[in-house]
């Protein structure tokens, strides 16, 4: 990390497998960098106080609220956003399960939900329904009542385990 003129800080992070070098303000959040500078607008801004979870991304394997992470804190880190889930045109099993189970309504919480679920399954490939609920307890959804989301995460886990 080197200090640049005008208070800019140079950082380097890997986003969805691509190394990105950026000069950011010290106060800029990871959310602002993802949406504003990298135009990865799949990650949503819902509350900016870490309560709604719409901005959840996976940072070095952990689900975090990107509105609460400074971009400089992500220097050297690996970030996965919703745009990085599908590989070579094929949807991730979580994405397919969300569609098939009706886990998507307005879709604003969906990217954050997917990322929380992704981090959960990486840690616990066969979660119980309660574990899924705990893992997404920081992601608010006003449309679905969470039931279809829980079902989708369990289905995606089941699919991954049987293949």
């Amino acid at each position: 990390m080197k200090q640049l003129p005008e208070d800019l800080v140079s950082i380097r992070l890997t986003v969805n497998g691509v190394v990105r070098s950026l000069d950011v303000h010290p106060g800029e959040t990871l959310l602002e960098v993802l949406r504003g500078r990298l135009r990865l607008t799949g990650t949503k801004r819902g509350c900016e106080v870490g309560e709604c979870g719409a901005c959840t991304v996976v940072l070095d394997g952990r689900a975090v609220n990107s509105c609460l992470v400074l971009a400089v804190q992500a220097d050297g880190a690996e970030v996965l956003t919703v745009e990085g889930l599908a590989r070579e045109g094929a949807l991730h099993p979580l994405q397919r399960a969300f569609l098939e189970h009706g886990a998507v309504q307005c879709g604003f919480c969906t990217p954050g939900m997917l990322m929380s679920a992704h981090a959960l399954l990486a840690q616990d490939p066969s979660p119980t329904p309660d574990a899924v609920r705990r893992a997404i307890a920081g992601n608010l959804c006003r449309c679905t009542g969470y039931q279809a989301i829980v079902d989708a995460v369990l289905a995606a886990a089941g699919e991954a385990n049987s293949s």
């Binding site: 106080v49 919703v82 098939e100 307005c106 879709g107 604003f108 705990r134 608010l140 679905t144």
Partner: protein
């Protein structure tokens, strides 16, 4: 164009759990919500909001702000070229409050702020930070006015006036029979007072618009807008231009629940003013704090119910007096209270019913449309009351309800005979009783409360009937446009908006059903006011019945033309031909289908080559309704839907904590169009209803909201919502072109009373004021906290918990 009986009676595609037509982009991140869009050369627009909940503006100085770095324009009420007021029913809300002489008329004086969410000035600047910095340079002189915050006080003659013409927004009455006579033969009379809270829609996407100036003095607006045609009317009126110079589109909407109506209209008007003034695209985005401060809420209600029961246990008289808090502006209050007055007595036979509902202006945040629209409040009251009467009559609440609910041919308190469709409430109650094991559990849990226990179990029921669509509120018609492409793919657009509820999928599925193509062949375009006729607002759970019926109409027109060509190609009479699963074939009256080699895609190509019009505009006008304002009698809605909820709870006797363990929801919404979408509506409606019953209240003290973000305004999380069991009783209704009706709001309007009735079953204590917080459950009254945020308390502020009434 005829929709054949085949379409209505034997659908091949309706009812299937098809994935959403707009789902893919939402799981990949490609779906563009308004804040994901930017325009070349755009500036940022921000709003200076009121510093007092009620004050006259005596001076307003924006000169310093105009000179601030990056600032492109600063606007006040004086800069509005057209009508400075908006309002869907009463034009009483200023786009910007101003100083005296800025405009306005009698009863609507423009020179004051009436709630903290009011806007006083607009700034456009090159960056959002520059725009927000400039707000601090605007100097406003206020002369504070007395504040009124209780709608019952607001209706007293000595109350401060929020609007010069008086604080009464609307008064609806229903006069059916004569309760004075009815109460004379009452064996028992029950008098109960209920109260329901102000709540926040809490759509996850904050409000956002982008306005772009276009030639002829007009604008194009894209935004998170629920009711595009209402917004268009207001923007055209504020700019003083005809409707065809204002084009409103929505981007993908991140939830609305009735909430992105007036607040978006005001935001669109402000962005349009800035776009005209700067000649540049203007983007405005609310922070969550701005959203909670400015956006309208669900009306708090105070409900006084009096019911008489005769010796046989039947309701013989009801008298209801209800006051709603409209907040600072009328918004949808006149229509919200209309639904309340029609449905206040619940789905129960009663010969003598008088109901009065008044809405009053206060200096609280304004209240308007929210999922349910005047029904969650009255359903809470009547469902708690009927539950209590049942227990008092020595019956379980489900059996008692089944005795007194409407059946085919019964007459409602507005004098409407329920006919022409199946009045299925008894069937719905029977189904939910079986599914939940209600009667047995209710008696068991009631008996168990005699003995001391750390945890008590309870089960509760609630049911409702609900008028479909707008009813006698106003014009009720909608358009859907269906185009078949030469390769057989289909494009559908409609005047009905998808806010996340799935209107695009439901409307597309209706079109695909009639065309005979799989749903994945359909693309749905976001609504655009310049490309589809004014279809009214997407409210009142009318999307599926109105937009879907118009889609069926459009698809039937196109199909008829295509079948003529098919008849020629296949050498078969048109009446024998059927299209299904993208294949053309022959079908019999009994629903059989034999496909030919001709595909829908090939047929579309041949039609195109022959110059056949493969597009049609479908139109659906609702059946007639009527209303006599003096007596509150008439055909209030053209048809009704029926539903019931059962909640099973565990109450912690030591803390008052209520855990909802299981939940059942049964609805007759007519023909189910998409099972996946329908179940999703129920799940989400119930979760929101549980928040209403147990958790949520947007507290306001002296006009100042106590919550500004999700750290203080709590909505249910995945940990708070139980497993839900959903069933549908399908009675196709002749009112919908394919037998479909409504579902979105019925799902949300009875969860709270079901839970509160379950708490009563567990504890023996009747809660008449929601939310049923820990203290309501444990000690039977509410505690209130100070207006300080938690962080301020931690820094040495006062105690965070005070008992209301102990202070003075």
């Amino acid at each position: 164009m005829m929709i054949g009986e085949k379409d209505k009676d034997r659908p091949w595609l309706l009812g299937r759990p098809e994935p959403r037509v707009d789902g893919l982009g939402k799981v990949t991140g490609e779906a563009r919500f308004t804040d994901d869009l930017d325009e070349v050369g755009q500036v940022w627009g921000v709003v200076l909001r009121a510093a007092h909940p009620h004050a006259r503006i005596v001076s307003l100085d924006v000169e310093e702000a105009r000179l601030a770095p990056g600032v492109v324009a600063v606007l006040t009420a004086r800069d509005i070229p057209g009508n400075p007021f908006v309002g869907g029913v009463v034009q009483d809300q200023p786009v910007l409050a101003g100083t005296a002489g800025a405009g306005g008329g009698a009863g609507h004086d423009l020179d004051r702020v009436r709630m903290l969410g009011d806007g006083v000035a607009l700034v456009a600047a090159e960056t959002e930070a520059q725009a927000r910095d400039a707000l601090g340079l605007i100097r406003v002189g206020y002369e504070p006015l007395p504040v009124v915050t209780d709608p019952r006080e607001a209706l007293r003659p000595e109350s401060p006036l929020v609007h010069d013409r008086g604080n009464l927004v609307v008064h609806h009455g229903v006069r059916h029979g004569d309760p004075a006579v009815g109460f004379e033969y009452a064996h028992r009379v029950y008098e109960r007072a209920y109260a329901t809270p102000r709540i926040e829609h809490a759509y996850l996407e904050p409000e956002c618009v982008i306005a772009r100036p276009v030639e002829g003095g007009g604008v194009e607006v894209v935004g998170s807008i629920q009711n595009l045609f209402s917004t268009r009317r207001a923007v055209a009126s504020v700019l003083g231009v005809p409707l065809n110079r204002v084009r409103i589109r929505h981007a993908v909407l991140g939830g609305s629940f009735g909430g992105k109506d007036d607040v978006m209209t005001v935001m669109a008007c402000r962005a349009a003013l800035l776009a005209r003034a700067t000649g540049r695209p203007v983007k405005m985005v609310n922070t969550r704090e701005e959203s909670m401060l400015e956006s309208y809420k669900r009306h708090p209600y105070f409900l006084d119910y009096r019911a008489g029961v005769d010796r046989d246990g039947n309701l013989c008289a009801m008298r209801m007096d209800i006051v709603a808090d409209a907040g600072a502006y009328a918004s949808m209050s006149p229509f919200v209270t209309y639904r309340s007055v029609v449905q206040a007595a619940g789905p129960y036979r009663c010969p003598h019913v008088w109901t009065d509902v008044r809405a009053a202006y206060t200096n609280n945040p304004y209240t308007g449309a929210m999922r349910g629209f005047g029904s969650p409040q009255v359903n809470f009251a009547i469902e708690c009351l009927v539950d209590e009467i049942a227990e008092d009559q020595g019956l379980d609440p489900l059996t008692y309800r089944r005795r007194i609910v409407f059946r085919d041919g019964d007459v409602t308190p507005t004098g409407q005979r329920l006919a022409g469709h199946r009045v299925s409430l008894d069937e719905v109650l029977a189904r939910i009783g079986d599914a939940s094991g209600f009667v047995d559990k209710w008696w068991r849990y009631r008996a168990a409360r005699e003995a001391p226990a750390a945890f008590r179990r309870g089960i509760g029921v609630a049911c409702s009937y609900r008028g479909v669509s707008l009813g006698a509120e106003g014009v009720d018609a909608a358009a859907t446009f269906v185009q078949v492409q030469p390769d057989g793919s289909v494009i559908v657009s409609s005047g009905v908006t998808d806010m996340g509820q799935g209107a695009q999928t439901a409307v597309a599925q209706c079109a695909a059903e009639v065309l005979g193509v799989p749903l994945d062949r359909v693309v749905f375009l976001n609504t655009d006011t310049s490309r589809i006729p004014d279809s009214g607002p997407t409210v009142a759970s009318r999307g599926t019945i109105m937009g879907g019926s118009a889609a069926a109409d459009a698809a039937a027109q196109v199909r008829a033309r295509m079948l003529e060509v098919a008849a020629d190609l296949l050498g078969q009479p048109v009446k024998n031909l059927v299209i299904r699963e993208g294949l053309v074939g022959t079908g019999g009256a009994e629903g059989s289908f034999v496909p030919s080699r001709l595909t829908f895609a090939d047929l579309a190509g041949e039609c195109f080559r022959r110059g056949v019009a493969l597009a049609a505009l479908g139109w659906f006008r609702a059946p007639p309704t009527s209303w006599h304002e003096e007596t509150g009698q008439g055909i209030a809605y053209f048809t009704y839907v029926y539903g019931a909820n059962v909640a099973e709870v565990v109450v912690d006797s030591g803390t008052g904590r209520v855990r909802v363990e299981e939940f059942w929801s049964v609805h007759d919404c007519g023909r189910v169009v998409n099972r996946l979408g329908a179940e999703g509506q129920v799940h989400g409606g119930v979760a929101m209803g549980l928040g209403y019953g147990l958790l949520e209240e947007f507290e306001v003290e002296q006009g100042v909201p106590k919550a500004s973000n999700f750290d203080e305004y709590l909505i249910p999380t995945a940990m708070d919502v139980p497993r839900m069991h959903v069933e549908f009783v399908e009675n196709p209704d002749p009112a919908g072109r394919l037998g479909q009706k409504s579902l979105g709001e019925p799902t949300n309007e009875i969860a709270a009373p079901a839970v509160v009735n379950a708490i009563a079953n567990a504890t023996g204590r009747r809660i008449r004021e929601i939310p049923a917080t820990l203290e309501q459950v444990l000690i039977g009254r509410r505690l209130t906290r100070s207006g300080l945020r938690g962080s301020e308390v931690a820094r040495g502020g006062e105690a965070s918990c005070k008992v209301r009434g102990e202070e003075g």
